[in-house]
């Protein structure tokens, strides 16, 4: 996936829908791209130092103590709560097949949110939607 394809992909995601193309280009260079094989754990429940991820291609399963609670797909993001609250993740996130994602470490996510308030607002909306539907995540 080259730079222009990455910019197009980010621009099509709700999280970044308010950004201009130069802003998206700056963001693309801030992220690192990663590729995960089927069954590979992206985020480990209880581990420190987890990153923030946006799925570019593929699907992932959110699992608490091994039990699936939700599925994530293209454009979905995860890892932000762990970073913003400075707490280890409460769930594993496991790739369900080949999966491509963009990732940011804690400090870099903080900078992106401070520099791009619209991303911050969209992330808040996404997080609140998850909170609203939290009952679906209960065991």
């Amino acid at each position: 996936m080259d730079k222009d394809a990455l910019i197009d992909a980010l621009g099509s995601f709700a999280l970044f829908a308010d950004l201009s193309r130069p802003e998206l280009e700056g963001l693309v260079h801030t992220f690192e791209e990663e590729w995960f094989g089927e069954g590979q754990t992206v985020v480990h429940q209880g581990f420190t130092g987890t990153g923030f991820y946006v799925i570019l291609e593929g699907e992932a399963s959110v699992r608490i103590d091994g039990e699936e609670r939700a599925k994530l797909s293209r454009g979905d993001f995860f890892g932000e709560l762990s970073i913003l609250l400075d707490e280890p993740p409460l769930a594993d996130v496991v790739a369900l097949g080949p999966m491509r994602a963009l990732t940011l470490a804690r400090g870099a996510l903080d900078e992106v949110l401070v520099q791009h308030p619209h991303v911050c607002l969209r992330m808040l909306q996404g997080t609140l939607r998850r909170l609203r539907s939290a009952s679906r995540w209960q065991p």
Binding site: K3, E34, W35, G37, G46, G49, G66, T103, A105
Partner: protein, 497 residues
């Protein structure tokens, strides 16, 4: 065509290693020590790979310390010698340091090349030089490599093919711009305005080397410069190359600019770079007499993508499993700097050291052992360890193990239960341990957190789940004390230790 006097004529081998740089040499050395028959082929005419030519300014950024707290040629010394390859024989260890003239603790390129060549000679490695890998195909369970000398058939190809192939992003006009690999002598830039596209180590290496020559240097790229002393990551710009940065922040007349390059055009007497500021938005143009693309490198994959080898990082790296096998085409393995394709856990955003010799030399050794066991039935001795000795052994490793100190949060030392007792499970990728389904056991590694604190981390696998335990840091990085023994003992409770 094949000549009779060269080793490894075309034919069928269990394993074929492609390359003769440090990654290939370390892999071949370990395979041979395990008794795994293999061929080594290389298009070069001598060992050392990229170090025959690079870095451009002829001195490395990885140190080898002539004097250290531990004995030269010992395992512990590897922590202080980032450039030598690994051998079981003491007189074949620390060979890069042996070449150095004492004027710097960063080897000169020639010293590095000589040290790698000395390893190949002393360990009597056999390589078929002048044999160029041209194409690859799958035939049943085998892979067939077509080369300039003929066809090589094998179950396991290992590509140690480096990353000296230039990579440029999709920017209009950049194809006409010379790349880092095409840079002229510094004197050719005397009195000129030089724009360097890229602000990673290769860009800063050029800027640092051209400071005495260029009239003005402007480094441009969208992303702010990451500096290793702040990011705690060896891939960020290293302290050795920070002089251009100091010149910039003190207003010395050279510039470090965060800008996305829109296009590069030729003018009647030079170049014009059009860009959009990122951290400070707005259009800008830079007039320059010379432009250099220090935009990075890629793995020369040839036709491996067509074979199904998945790539990432804008198509620059193969996506690899924790054991450095293609994640999409089982059987194909990679060694050397290409092992960056297995990114590991990236805790706190800090990646592996697999780009450099001090990281990938261990990857090669672990991978060769893994291949030997998995594919060729080799039994690797895993000595028993008394349960009462495990705490001390873990803290010894945390304090001294070169693998853990040079590949933080990436490699770990494993002890696991077997036949009612415990065995030394050797050094493994941390990801392989935490995501593996092995027996109960524990692994220790060294980690750096977001604040730069360096401390051991213990991972305990019991009844199928793995828990992380961070141990306290110490000012002198020695963890062999009562407090750490108590922390480790408490963490090992689920293992009955």
């Amino acid at each position: 065509m094949a000549t009779v006097d060269k080793p490894f004529p075309p034919g069928t081998y269990p394993v074929v290693v492609v390359g003769s740089g440090p990654g290939a040499l370390q892999t071949s050395y370990t395979l041979r020590s395990l008794g795994v028959e293999h061929a080594v082929i290389s298009s070069d005419d001598r060992p050392a790979g990229m170090f025959q030519r690079f870095p451009i300014f002829q001195r490395l950024i990885s140190w080898s310390k002539p004097y250290s707290p531990v004995e030269r040629h010992s395992r512990a010394y590897e922590r202080y010698d980032w450039n030598s390859l690994l051998a079981d024989e003491p007189d074949s260890c620390g060979l890069v340091t042996d070449q150095m003239d004492g004027t710097s603790y960063f080897p000169a390129r020639q010293e590095m090349e000589a040290g790698i060549a000395a390893f190949a000679e002393k360990t009597k490695l056999t390589i078929r030089y002048g044999c160029t890998w041209e194409s690859t195909r799958k035939d049943g369970d085998d892979f067939v490599l077509t080369t300039s000398d003929g066809e090589y058939r094998c179950r396991i190809p290992i590509f140690a093919i480096g990353m000296a192939m230039s990579w440029v992003p999709n920017i209009p006009g950049i194809d006409e711009v010379p790349h880092y690999v095409d840079v002229k002598t510094p004197r050719d830039y005397a009195g000129k305005r030089v724009a360097i596209i890229g602000k990673r180590n290769s860009g800063f290496e050029l800027a640092d080397g051209l400071l005495p020559w260029a009239r003005q240097i402007v480094l441009l790229s969208p992303r702010p410069t990451g500096v290793s002393v702040l990011t705690h990551f060896v891939a960020s710009v290293r302290a050795r190359y920070l002089q251009p940065y100091e010149d910039h922040v003190l207003g010395g007349g050279n510039f470090i600019v965060d800008a996305a390059i829109e296009r590069i055009e030729r003018t009647s007497d030079g170049w014009r770079v059009h860009a959009q500021g990122t951290t400070k938005p707005g259009p800008m143009t830079v007039e320059a007499d010379e432009v250099i693309a220090a935009t990075g490198f890629q793995v020369p994959m040839q036709d491996l993508r067509d074979l199904g080898v998945a790539t990432f990082m804008q198509d620059r790296f193969p996506a690899l499993t924790p054991m450095w096998e293609s994640a999409s085409v089982p059987g194909i393995h990679f060694a050397g700097t290409t092992t960056q394709g297995a990114v590991g856990l990236r805790k706190y955003g800090i990646g592996s050291s697999s780009a450099a010799v001090h990281g990938f030399r261990y990857n090669a050794r672990i991978m060769a052992r893994h291949i030997a066991e998995k594919h060729f039935g080799v039994t690797i001795d895993r000595p028993s360890i008394a349960p009462e000795d495990i705490v001390e052994k873990l803290l010894d490793e945390a304090t001294l193990a070169p693998e853990l100190w040079t590949q933080k949060s990436y490699l770990c030392r494993v002890f696991e239960s077997r036949d009612g007792g415990f065995v030394d499970g050797d050094v493994l990728p941390l990801q392989a341990f935490v995501d593996g389904s092995g027996p109960d056991g524990t692994a220790i590694t060294i980690e750096t957190d977001a604040e730069g604190d360096i401390h051991p981390a213990l991972y305990v696998r019991a009844k199928g789940s793995v828990e992380e335990h961070l141990l306290d840091s110490t000012s002198m990085h020695d963890y062999r004390d009562p407090e750490h023994r108590a922390q480790v003992k408490a963490a090992l409770g689920p293992l009955g230790l």
